[in-house]
Symmetry: C2
Subunit: 228 residues, 2 copies
């Protein structure tokens, strides 16, 4: 199909498609004339993935490009793709030529947040095999530090039941990604599951919270629709 | 303590403390002289809560103010506090004088996203008691629509196992909030659990994902540290 048809099918304007082509985020079409190219279903699909990452998930063009490069370059190694998606390994050092680089002192740049030691205790208690550079450990540390500042009695031990449920979610995630599909489809699916399901997980928790709140705390207003 | 001491204890600059006082986000101190006031531990605590919501969670000052007002005004009704935190009921119409307003046609303003019907199917299947205005249903619908656009075979039924784990997380949340503490502390804790634990839940999933990815997909590079 021509670029105009590709635009019509995906709702992405032609100048933006050309931008993605220039950036290498979209593979070139098959040249049919001196300045014409033919695009296929793989281009429709790739454009939808780009728009999902940018519009639905709010990723930057740069982050999206990095993830797309990972899908293409590392499609035979889901663990590498995953590492880039999780921010554990920067895309630049994740190339097979530099296998030693990723773990090199990732904490040197940023100061350790106050709760990081507790986050590492939780990780150890769960028996999780996590590299020191995983930014999620820092996030967890920040939350634990904030809970402490607020005088909350929720500490890293209090988060263990949450960690067990998160472990169950990650089990589902990994099971979604396995299968006998082709490698590119698997790598893309790893990205979809990891990135696109994040807002879904939070939304499901919020929906369940409203329901449980109605049943546990909704007894104050007998006229309210949610009182049981 | 004087405002300077309050600033020292919390790390919040005096002009910003005065701004929070003017906005009513921080209750006034006890007047000791014509232009002096005495602040207590409750002010230290409230300032830490404000900074956590704004700095750690990235909420706007307006959203933070709304939540703080909910804590103060609705502290005897955790379900109301929760509704405001979840965005189900806007704070303005959540006042007890207007009990009918909250459910009034919440979808009129925004168009229904493509996946919303599927999101409602999932909610019904889970037996969740959720108001039509809960924005999390829209978020879930957007994710389901994006999955469909990408040709993913994950549909609302595929998210049911996730929903069951999210239900377990919400169970933990509600259990954290119950107890015989005073009402203000309970209301504040509802906010902390609902808002501050969101990044923790995502971080725990990402940590578990890296660990599971290492064990399931990490066999490609025998020299990598995470290969089992």
């Amino acid at each position: 199909m021509k670029v105009s048809e590709l635009s019509r099918r995906t709702g992405v304007q032609v100048p933006l498609i050309k931008h993605y082509l220039r950036e290498g985020m979209l593979p070139p079409g098959r040249a049919t004339a001196s300045n014409q190219a033919d695009y296929g279903e793989e281009h429709v699909h790739r454009l939808r993935l780009i728009r999902t990452l940018i519009a639905t998930r709010g990723l930057s063009t740069a982050a999206t490009k990095e993830i797309l490069e990972a899908i293409t370059a590392e499609q035979d190694d889901l663990h590498q793709v995953f590492g880039i998606v999780l921010g554990v390994r920067p895309a630049a050092t994740a190339a097979p030529e530099a296998p030693e680089a990723p773990e090199a002192d990732p904490d040197a740049a940023a100061p350790e947040p106050a709760g990081l030691a507790d986050a590492r205790r939780l990780i150890a208690e769960m028996g999780w095999d996590v590299s020191r550079g995983n930014p999620a450990a820092h996030t967890l540390g920040e939350v634990l530090a904030a809970l402490g500042d607020l005088g909350s009695d929720i500490d890293w031990r209090g988060l263990l039941p949450y960690a067990r449920l998160a472990d169950g979610i990650a089990d589902l995630d990994v099971r979604q990604m396995s299968g006998d599909r082709d490698l590119l489809a698997q790598a893309e699916r790893a990205v979809t599951v990891a990135i696109l399901l994040e807002p879904a997980v939070l939304a499901l928790r919020r929906l369940a919270q409203e329901s449980k709140s109605a049943h546990h705390f909704g007894g104050h207003h007998p006229e309210a629709p949610h009182t049981t």
